[in-house]
């Protein structure tokens, strides 16, 4: 089975929860475990939050959530057309944050990396950011029962 979806959201913090609900519903057909579901929700929440806070910095803009589910593999992309990231490698370091005044933990990318099987970040200053993540469902198999 192959299923694909594309959703465009306003870059508002209220849509962080909405994006989580959407991705939860999208992966339902592969019967994710509670842990797998929590992993995907957390990763998507982090990516959308980054777009809202860092990509657009409170300004208006759109966040695109693009998902493909095929043979138990979720491929999900979160894209914004915001200000982009100057140094992607640095941004991905644990605890790094450009906005200490917001009391962010600096763990957004670390969580995406920890909870998904694959994480790729493409970004250029002024060009926006594309976060690509993948997760294989059912890989923990029977020992989850």
């Amino acid at each position: 089975m192959r299923n694909e979806m594309r959703l465009e959201l306003d870059a508002l913090s209220i849509n962080e929860a909405f994006a989580r609900v959407v991705v939860s519903a999208f992966v339902t057909p592969v019967n994710p475990t509670l842990e797998e579901l929590a992993d995907v929700k957390t990763a998507v929440s982090e990516a959308v939050t980054n777009a809202v806070i860092h990509g657009y910095d409170g300004a208006q803009g759109k966040v695109v959530l693009h998902g493909i589910l095929q043979d138990g593999l979720l491929h999900i992309e979160v894209e914004d057309r915001g200000k982009g990231i100057e140094d992607v490698e640095k941004a991905m370091e644990p605890l790094f944050t450009t906005r200490p005044e917001l009391e962010r933990s600096g763990m957004g990318f670390s969580f995406m990396e920890a909870f998904m099987d694959r994480l790729e970040v493409r970004s250029e200053p002024g060009e926006g950011t594309l976060v690509i993540m993948e997760k294989q469902f059912g890989s923990q198999g029977q020992d989850e029962e």
Binding site: I14, A17, R20, E35, S45, L102, E103, R104, G108, F111
Partner: protein, 107 residues
């Protein structure tokens, strides 16, 4: 929001919301800080009984409150954390400062 917070002696008890993300975090931190500034808060207990989701914004809330009380010898505790919340606590390294109280014991 205000009934999330109550004091037991010098412990601030915070009943955490169902979902703790960036959208929720600012109001939660501001509410807690009003107590920390206004009352004799020494320790903080985060009660996750209602919480089904937390991302790195929630980690920021806990670390931020810890920094405000740690210099006066205060500690932070977590109670009623379900397996998902425990996972966030572990992966984030929050466990280094956050004392997780197991069920059936008291903070």
């Amino acid at each position: 929001m205000e009934d999330r917070f109550h004091m037991i002696e010098n412990y601030l008890m915070i009943r955490m919301p169902e979902e703790i993300d960036h959208h929720q975090a600012a109001a939660l931190s501001a509410g807690a800080d009003r107590y920390i500034m206004g009352r004799a808060v020494k320790h903080i207990v985060f009660d996750f009984e209602d919480t089904r989701f937390m991302d790195s914004s929630g980690v920021g809330v806990v670390i931020g409150r810890y920094k405000k009380i740690a210099c006066f010898g205060g500690s932070v505790y977590a109670v009623n954390a379900d397996p998902q919340i425990m996972r966030i606590i572990q992966v984030s390294g929050l466990k280094k400062v956050l004392h997780v109280v197991e069920e059936g014991t008291n903070a």
